[in-house]
Point group: C2
Chain length 429, copies 2
């Protein structure tokens, strides 16, 4: 049985192995992990989600765990420590050599989700008074000790960042060229900047790495392009979760216990069901109208469903456009214009269809009520779907928390009011 | 006025300038573009969304346009040609030198969204019988003509890919080492593979570039890490759109005319409103029950809203977990188990709250009806939200098309059936 598992694991490539270890139930994970050859074990441990790595660590012998933690890069180690109890962190820190321990503690000193927390502190840099030849020689020596030598910060007095050179630039230049001739103005990040902003900077500028500096412009680390890709993937997962009206799990699905899944969802559901009591009030208020024409009730789910769907479409589109910086706050009038026009047009199309249907099933006047209400609800939904995330951003709230379910619930109650007012007017109740 | 605009544009960095040109109305875009110095203009043109670049091209003098197109990389040019009318493409191709024209046509020969379509055909490679010193010499010579020299494919007889070396590996090795001693087994992509799969391979393996080979394992190009980041961002935008029940716009929001926005949404709305007629049928069927206890109508929006929200949460979580490969088809039983348990638990919590509310507003028996129905609807919604995207994947359909609005609408009708059956049983109608 164990031999079978060992063969099966040996056939997997790096990412496949990480996935397989992650999806195993916690009890089996340590068993599988122990079957791996030492170098593969470290590579897997580095790439595991920190929550999974932390759980695994508690199941390994303490000396095995310490040795794994010792071999991690400082940034991966800091992310792991975030998931561990303070007492375990203290024990592990005391087992590290002082330089490694210090680097890790420095990283943990930066705020969560900041560039400082995610950067690699071990950087290959070159002094600004060097020549190209001297720089290359230095990089050959440092090559195996740092994460990247392709983007090279150039430092002046007191480790101050003066610019960057690319290894490509160095290699294609003459050896005796002064470095300063090749230096490009650095695009950099501050230690306290948000990790997502910084990762997007790496992507937008097509960079291999981005120097991270402190408030005195001294180099303290680098965010590499793989860090950036990992950060962006995490942030996308968070945004996707919020769009569906849940808190992000922050860990792989199969490694998340049910109580954590429930916790990530129940908060929003409670908020939404509280908001939905508005619909009960509205219907209660119009109960007499409803009793007179019970047929009106037939179309309530269709009407508010359509409003919800239209609102979900708008909010998804607008939140995404904001998150990729296609639109900003100053574009509010243009966005609102586009969305209200869209609402009017799709509303008219749907009203024609559903109004006719209601006309056939009940009578022409109820068909008219439904048609008019649908147009109004669609315009309301697209308007609210555009306005609310933009106002959230204005108020300093991440627009991603304005989810489709939130807009849907909001539009439900107001859609019902419209429906009954239109019904009263047209049916003369 | 123009001077003001010129100053304003000069203050922006590269990505900022691309965003600003993109968000200008089409008529102003050409004006602003002409104000840019020549090298900035090319850099911006390269980074514009292909649809925007195509629109801009039609507003520029034809010789200016030809010169821009001439200076593009072959892969960017192919993407632009995709957005242009065939007659314009023919004219532009005839203006290119034969080698550039051939490279572009080769790329356009691969299927859309394939690795071949997105790769850079200009690659720095080294022959497998070279030494490290010879390889470095070759890379120094090619350095400025290719997109990357950091990941270097090693080719044997007939351009067959034998492996890759990193520039870092070359630089830290002795000059007379035979290259073959450094070569790592290549992770590569086939020309016809899906661009998203390939981009994720780049991310998962933390690569700078991925060699692309034809069916005889001959090197034909490379997908660089910036290509991968761009592809992933596009695919994330598509998934986000689908999650909200719309077709992806495939272009920046402000550069999309209203008729295109309407087109991206109306299809799904029509499908959903057609599905919503089921709710009309269900209510029609139970109309007598509804007439007897009109108070039941009060809680319809709350009940189906909650079902929809719970379903939206599940489908969002499950689709995301599938898209990041956290779960696969073989995990169906575990996923279903987790989701049904979650549904039961959140349903019970919500039932307690809403059931009490209904008990107070109407009476205890209606409260009981609502509570029981809520539990059933939540379990139904989490079950459907887990099952349907996984069945879609099994059927070879992208699970991302199973949107929250789709699940919501589906759960609405079945939720109503449950509600009225429970009501009939408990109220003895």
């Amino acid at each position: 049985k164990l031999d079978e598992l060992r063969t099966q694991l040996a056939d997997l490539d790096g990412p496949g192995l990480v996935r397989e270890i992650t999806r195993l139930p916690a009890a089996k994970r340590a068993v599988a992990f122990r079957l791996l050859p030492k170098d593969r074990a470290l590579a897997v441990f580095e790439d595991l989600d920190p929550s999974v790595a932390a759980a695994l660590l508690s199941q390994l012998r303490s000396d095995v765990g310490s040795s794994l933690v010792h071999d991690l890069d400082p940034d991966d180690r800091a992310r792991l420590f975030d998931e561990l109890p303070a007492s375990v962190v203290r024990r592990l820190l005391s087992g590290l050599d002082p330089h490694e321990a210090q680097m890790t503690q420095d990283l943990l000193g930066y705020p969560p989700e900041s560039a400082g927390r995610r950067m690699t502190p071990e950087v290959a840099w070159v002094p600004s008074d060097a020549t190209v030849g001297q720089a290359i020689k230095r990089l050959r020596r440092l090559g195996n000790k740092v994460e990247t030598i392709y983007m090279v910060p150039v430092l002046g007095q007191g480790r101050r960042l003066e610019g960057v050179v690319s290894l490509r630039g160095l290699l294609t230049a003459k050896r005796d060229t002064p470095l300063i001739d090749l230096v490009a103005d650095p695009i950099s990040a501050d230690t306290h900047e948000d990790q997502e902003v910084v990762a997007r900077r790496v992507r937008d500028h097509g960079m291999i790495g981005l120097p991270v500096v402190d408030h005195e412009k001294r180099l303290v680390g680098v965010i590499t392009v793989d860090d950036a890709m990992r950060i962006l993937a995490e942030e996308e997962s968070e945004d996707a979760a919020r769009a569906g009206g849940t808190e992000p799990l922050g860990r792989p699905y199969l490694a998340t216990p049910v109580w954590r899944i429930v916790r990530s969802r129940i908060i929003w559901l409670l908020v939404l069901i509280a908001a939905a009591t508005l619909t009960v009030n509205v219907l209660d208020y119009f109960e007499e109208t409803l009793e007179q024409v019970v047929a009106l009730a037939l179309f309530i789910p269709m009407l508010i469903g359509t409003g919800g769907n239209t609102g979900a479409q708008t909010v998804t589109t607008v939140v995404r456009a904001m998150s990729v910086d296609d639109i900003g706050l100053r574009d509010l009038p243009r966005v609102l214009g586009k969305e209200l026009s869209t609402g009017l047009l799709v509303g008219a199309g749907l009203a024609l269809l559903a109004g006719t249907l209601a006309g056939v099933i009940v009578d022409a006047r109820v068909g008219l009520v439904l048609g008019v209400s649908l147009v109004a609800v669609c315009v309301l939904a697209t308007g609210a779907g555009a306005l609310i995330p933009m106002l959230a951003k204005r108020a300093g709230v991440d627009p991603a928390v304005v989810s489709a379910p939130f807009i849907t619930t909001l539009v439900d109650a107001s859609g019902l009011i419209i429906y009954f007012l239109v019904a009263r007017a047209i049916l003369g109740l």
